[in-house]
């Protein structure tokens, strides 16, 4: 990031533009955070900052009435999303490798099918799935959500990863083979490390898709056994039936955002690190 070459004026404009974008993007987040610290009576005042900063909402979801609902949902969400991400990345890695490296009949078919599945509207298959899952006993279970999540995450994983694999110089693998590697060793010792940034990017995208899903989450679960956070938020109740649980929902939303932020921060360096720089002449 060599900013020294930019003139003062250009630099200032970049700052202004950057701040505008950040404010636009983060304002709703800031609002949610502020909401989560407000007392119920403070909710409707329309002030941005709470009059009294209180931890009641967090108490409520983590230790109070909504605790049971929220914590189990959090556990479900983390578990289901991680498993779905893991399976989809592993499968997509093999699939994309084959697509990028080998010539076999039906290659295009796989890619088009993946795309077709991704285009298919989720809402249209929820009802049949609901019936099917109830009949075969997958309703309200973790696998019952992981399988449909795979249908969302696999296509995009296959597409991103095969694009990534295509950029890796083919000659590296040949060089490894000449150096004495088996096909598997060449894949594991040369291709996998180079593909890692791509795999992590894909993993994060998959995780978000699974983490943010609402339609499957609310339709295919009925109890705490498998209900994920986005669905659980809809079941929050206020102190009385006339009171909206806005504060609790805001607090839950903040808590749910934290793992995502951590995830991005953790993997950011791996994603950014140069992909195939220096492999071949440059």
């Amino acid at each position: 990031m060599d900013e020294g070459q930019l003139s003062r004026g250009t630099k200032a404009w970049w700052w202004v533009a950057g701040v505008v974008v950040i404010v636009y993007a983060l304002f709703p987040v800031a609002w949610i955070v502020s909401l989560s610290f407000k007392t119920p009576s403070d909710l409707a005042t329309g002030n941005f900052l709470p009059t009294n900063w209180v931890w009641d909402n967090y108490d409520n979801i983590l230790a109070g009435d909504a605790q049971e609902l929220f914590l189990s949902a959090l556990r479900n969400s983390v578990g289901i999303s991680l498993i779905a991400t893991f399976i989809s990345v592993v499968l997509a890695t093999f699939c994309a490798y084959a697509i990028a490296r080998l010539d076999f009949p039906g290659k295009r078919l796989i890619l088009t099918t993946a795309l077709a599945v991704a285009i298919f509207p989720v809402i249209s298959i929820v009802t049949p799935l609901f019936n099917l899952w109830r009949n075969i006993g997958l309703y309200d279970t973790w696998p019952g959500l992981i399988i449909p999540y795979l249908s969302l995450t696999l296509p995009i994983s296959i597409w991103t990863l095969s694009a990534f694999f295509r950029q890796i110089p083919w000659e590296l693998e040949q060089a490894a083979q000449v150096d004495g590697a088996t096909t598997w060793q060449a894949f594991r010792k040369v291709i996998v490390p180079l593909a890692t940034p791509g795999v992590f990017t894909t993993a994060i995208i998959s995780f978000f898709i699974a983490w943010n899903d609402f339609v499957y989450g609310i339709s295919l679960t009925s109890t705490e056994a498998a209900r994920p956070v986005p669905a659980a938020l809809a079941f929050f109740t206020g102190a009385s039936q006339f009171e909206e649980p806005t504060g609790a929902i805001a607090a839950a939303a903040v808590v749910v955002t934290i793992p995502v932020v951590i995830l991005v921060l953790l993997f950011q360096r791996r994603i950014v690190s140069g992909l195939t720089q220096g492999a071949v002449k440059g």
Partner: protein, 427 residues
């Protein structure tokens, strides 16, 4: 270390393209062999077949005394330097060089020893902890070589290793590779399209054209006795001059006068109407600086020089001339095959640096007839070299043990029976 033997090697791609045709080659243990030819001549394909990255359609490849056709690259124990180096970007220089050793589960202590030795040899010591991305082109090239020499491979294979370097570095690395090979004494096969590399590095040079071996010989033999027009045109810079001549008895009619070849260069020209004479630029000289002792071996003729390039140690003079249309078409075709383009028929003449011939005026030039070759314009065969071979005067072509002469046309061995008066029709 081992000898490499290629026997009737063929490569035919799935789309029917016949990339390599019946290649026979014996590479002796410790020999440095160059595969050279214009782009698309099959030299890289041949190398990749030796290393095992390309299947062999037919024929037999032996390394040492083992048939290796069916072996995977890793079982052939060869090491290769790729054109774009193919370094592992996620590994340090040290680990890049150590990679083959790690794969063979060499103990750490030995790995360290051997990597350091290779790094010493290539002067990479201070870069061992860096990643390839932070290295210059020449350094990357050395890392690729380090990875090749760290292992006790049976042979080294180089695929145009210097083509990505700038001219100066290329010269240095060329010397470095030559030194390294002599020091390690390992059989080496080196692919290049650069004839300077071919001439300077190799013990023997294999010239390929459209997948067919044209000539296998030492660089000197290749330069002095090219077997056909293609080799003659490919080796040498500036290239050999080709002058068309009509035959009448012993005399040759050229655009520059009537010449008679000395007995040492003469070929059987009976029944021929047109031949091509080949003379390298240095066979010419400014007539005024030729000493009297050698003057009689050549002819003096007048020509108009239109451009002179003075290089300090010598100078090149360009003499345009008119050639018959069919000869011109043929020379243009040859040029195309050699990856260049002929704009006009001209002589390139190397003159002594002290010569003061001015541009644009008629000058008196001398041609040493002892250094002239006679080519068959149709088959491209070098008649002088064939005649020498028949009289047993020429150095036999090493390597191509069966004495095959890969001129493209048929009937090259019994050319005395060629139909007389077969003038090249306008093509």
């Amino acid at each position: 270390m081992a000898a490499i033997t290629l026997k009737d090697i063929n490569k035919r791609y799935g789309d029917g393209f016949h990339a390599v045709k019946d290649v026979n080659l014996d590479i002796a243990d410790g020999e440095f062999v160059i595969l050279v030819g214009p782009s698309g001549c099959g030299k890289s394909t041949l190398l990749r077949m030796i290393v095992g990255l390309e299947d062999i359609t037919s024929g037999e490849l032996r390394i040492g005394d083992q048939r290796v056709n069916e072996k995977a690259p890793r079982d052939r124990n060869l090491s290769m330097v790729f054109q774009n180096y193919a370094l592992y970007p996620h590994l340090t220089v040290y680990e890049n060089i150590a990679f083959p050793l790690r794969l063979s589960k060499t103990p750490d202590k030995e790995v360290d020893e051997r990597v350091r030795r290779a790094a010493d040899l290539l002067e990479l010591n201070e870069h061992l902890d860096r990643k390839p991305a932070n290295l210059s082109g020449g350094q990357r090239q050395r890392v690729a070589m380090g990875r090749a020499i760290v292992r006790e491979a049976q042979a080294f294979l180089f695929d145009e290793p210097l083509s990505n370097l700038d001219a100066k570095l290329r010269g240095q690395m060329r010397t470095e590779i030559s030194r390294l090979q002599k020091r390690l004494g390992i059989t080496t096969v080196y692919v290049t399209h650069d004839q300077v590399e071919a001439m300077t590095l190799g013990d023997r040079v294999v010239v390929l054209r459209r997948g067919v071996v044209q000539q296998v010989a030492t660089p000197r033999e290749l330069y002095e006795n090219p077997v056909n027009l293609f080799v003659a045109g490919f080796i040498g810079s500036p290239p050999m001059n080709f002058i068309s001549a009509t035959v009448s008895g012993d005399r040759l009619h050229t655009p520059f006068g009537e010449w008679t070849l000395p007995a040492s260069r003469s070929a059987d020209l009976r029944g021929r109407e047109v031949v091509l004479l080949g003379a390298r630029p240095e066979a010419f000289e400014d007539a005024s600086v030729v000493s009297d002792t050698v003057r009689d071996h050549g002819v003096v003729f007048d020509a108009t020089i239109d451009v002179i390039e003075w290089l300090g140690n010598e100078q090149y003079a360009y003499v345009p001339y008119e050639a018959p249309e069919d000869i011109r078409a043929q020379l243009a075709e040859l040029e195309r095959e050699l990856d260049s383009e002929a704009l006009r028929t001209q002589l390139v003449v190397a003159l002594d640096a002290s010569s003061r011939i001015p541009e644009g005026t008629p000058a008196s030039l001398w041609l040493d007839l002892r250094r002239v070759h006679v080519f068959d314009p149709e088959t491209g065969e070098n008649l002088t070299v064939s005649a020498l071979a028949e009289r047993g005067e020429a150095e036999p072509n090493q390597g191509a043990g069966d004495g095959r002469r890969p001129a493209p046309g048929p009937g090259t061995t019994d050319r005395t029976t060629t139909e007389p008066g077969e003038a090249p029709a306008a093509s």
